[in-house]
């Protein structure tokens, strides 16, 4: 059996890098990307990090710094980030036989048994160069015999510029040296709270945890932390997952740009979330039986009256038809709606999924000849047409219940995105202009 070898490839300042790629005028400028509704900082360019702008800080707290340092501000442009992410992942798939997409900007490569003329560091440098050249995104690469160590190697590659963005931790001595330098809560899956408990036991560095007795750790914590100890010692315990596990639930929710106070507006929002969730469900090729609707006021606004509620309902048969899901969601909303509140957020969750053809059909729903209360085939045809049209451009066909734009051209419940960059790579009207 060949030694297992994993690489973790992680994009540097991913959202900020996506924005910068298409704006040569911002090359040297500090840049931040904001969360939904332009609330908090979710990504920073290296210049913004150097200025001490913290992750997660609300935008209103740094107004002064933004002006003082001429920091460029962007709303989250998920269309752009998703497309750039797909480019990075696709390129990685050309370089390694097995790729596990771990998040929008991270992927594990399984290099076990790969016959290569390059050593690990050279391979890492090649990944870095090709991803940079092809997509314009800079990545760091950590290589090690376990996923947990590969994560740590990547962390080191990011932290220490002398590594030139690649750290190979195949060597046991190098592993030990790095583990000694890193605090225990930097380890994948440990986090702050678990880190605190470990520190109370005298386990401060990553090396302390690696040297801890696995059985002892299992008794005090869990089998998961025990597995981490083994992984830190070079024993690969965490499986490589090429295919993402099937989703168990789908949530579509948004904070409102402006508070919503009327049932009509709330209906439109819930209708839109339901339609979006149904679209995702069809993409997963699943049927859902349970739909949950939730609404709430802002917990940060203590002076105003507070209300939050959610309600779940069951469909008679699992469905992926937007119309079934919207109808049920609106019925649920009308049960929990209360007048007189300024709502800040609402959402829809689908759960209890079925594969096509696995569920018990409703006797009224379907007859052998395909005719029923509403033909299953007709539903399939309508939904696939709907999805096909909408794939060509976002939301060309939508349900009347989602509402149409008011005179000012916007709906108050739509997300606030005042600093949105163009969809440079996914919309013909937004492609780059060159002189």
């Amino acid at each position: 059996m060949p030694e297992p070898t994993f690489a973790l490839v992680d994009c540097n300042n991913f959202y900020a890098s996506c924005e910068k790629l298409f704006r040569p005028d911002l090359k040297q400028r500090p840049l931040v990307v904001l969360s939904n509704n332009d609330g908090c900082v979710v990504a920073r360019s290296k210049e913004a990090k150097a200025l001490g702008i913290k992750m997660g800080v609300p935008i209103f707290k740094i107004r002064h710094e933004l002006r003082q340092h001429n920091i460029a501000v962007f709303s989250s442009n998920y269309t752009l980030y998703a497309d750039m992410s797909a480019r990075v992942m696709r390129t990685l798939e050309e370089m390694a036989q097995r790729v596990e997409i771990y998040s929008i900007d991270e992927a594990f490569l399984d290099l076990t048994g790969t016959q290569s003329l390059l050593d690990n560091s050279q391979f890492g440098q090649q990944v870095r160069q090709i991803i940079g050249d092809w997509t314009g995104i800079t990545v760091c690469v950590g290589i090690a015999p376990t996923k947990t160590l590969a994560k740590l190697a990547n962390h080191a590659a990011k932290k220490y510029p002398a590594t030139q963005g690649v750290v190979d931790l195949s060597d046991r001595q190098r592993q030990q040296r790095l583990l000694g330098l890193l605090p225990v809560d930097e380890i994948w899956g440990i986090g702050r709270r678990l880190g605190l408990r470990l520190q109370q036991m005298g386990i401060n560095s990553a090396l302390d945890l690696a040297n801890a007795n696995p059985k002892n750790i299992r008794q005090h914590f869990s089998v998961v932390v025990e597995r981490t100890v083994r992984e830190l010692n070079g024993e690969s315990c965490i499986d490589f997952e090429e295919l993402p596990p099937t989703k168990k639930q789908i949530v579509c929710s948004r904070s409102f740009g402006e508070r919503v106070t009327s049932l009509q507006e709330m209906r439109e929002a819930i209708c839109k979330h339901s339609a979006r969730a149904a679209e995702k469900l069809r993409k997963e090729k699943r049927y859902a039986k349970i739909i949950t609707v939730f609404i709430r006021t802002s917990p940060f606004n203590a002076q105003q009256p507070q209300y939050a509620n959610s309600l779940s309902g069951e469909l008679s048969v699992p469905s992926d038809d937007s119309r079934d899901l919207i109808n049920q969601a609106i019925r649920l909303l009308e049960h929990i709606w209360r007048d007189g509140y300024a709502y800040a957020k609402a959402g829809v969750m689908l759960s209890d999924f079925y594969e096509p053809g696995v569920y018990q059909p409703d006797i009224f729903d379907q007859q052998p000849n395909g005719k029923g209360r509403r033909g299953h085939k007709e539903s399939q045809a309508l939904m696939s047409t709907l999805d096909k049209i909408n794939r060509q451009g976002k939301s060309k066909l939508f349900f009347a219940g989602q509402g149409v734009k008011n005179s000012s051209g916007t709906k108050s419940w739509v997300m606030k995105r005042e600093h949105l960059s163009p969809a440079y790579t996914t919309n013909w009207n937004d492609i780059l202009k060159v002189k």
Binding site: S17, K20, L21, P24, D25, K27, A86, R87, V88, R90, T91, E94, Q126, R128, Q129, I130, G132, D133, W134, T135, G136, I137, T138, Y424, T425, W428, I431, L432, K433, V434, K435
Partner: protein, 148 residues
């Protein structure tokens, strides 16, 4: 002489004596059209296959201006950019210059410059020792001949 040729957002390629050191990562590319299937299913021609060798590295831009008309590139033309191609002498490239993107011919000999293809414009010299941001190499021009 030596000029640092920088892939915009990517790595740097050193040019020595006017020649770029081209990275050696060119895997075999299946160019052209796929072989016909065993059974004779009707196959439509896909323009993407013809113009796009590496989708992950391909970007589109629109031209504004007339500095490249002698190279057959007009205002409002759409250009296909392939970032996987290392820029070489004589390539039409997209470069980031003074904070904006420009399309020009890259010349590395006898000295590095961005050459417009229109006599009304002068070449843009890239001073020795400076950085030149290359976004990518232009591979195709797409123009609608009726809608102008």
């Amino acid at each position: 002489m030596s000029v640092l040729l920088v892939r915009h957002g990517g790595s740097a390629v050193h040019i020595k004596n006017g020649y770029a050191n081209i990275p050696l990562f060119r895997e075999a590319v299946s160019a052209g059209f796929p072989s016909p299937a065993e059974d004779y299913i009707e196959q439509s021609l896909d323009l993407n296959e013809h113009c796009i060798k590496r989708p992950a590295a391909t970007f589109f831009v629109r031209v504004q201006g007339d500095s490249m008309i002698d190279a057959g590139i007009y205002s409002e033309d759409m250009l296909v950019i392939d970032r996987s191609i290392p820029a070489a002498h004589g390539d039409i490239v997209i470069a980031g210059l003074h904070g904006e993107f420009t399309v020009k011919e890259l010349q590395l000999r006898p000295r590095t410059c961005l050459m417009p293809k229109n006599k009304a414009y002068s070449p843009i010299d890239i001073p020795e020792g400076s950085e030149l941001d290359i976004f990518g190499v232009v591979t195709h021009v797409i123009r609608n001949l009726r809608q102008k």
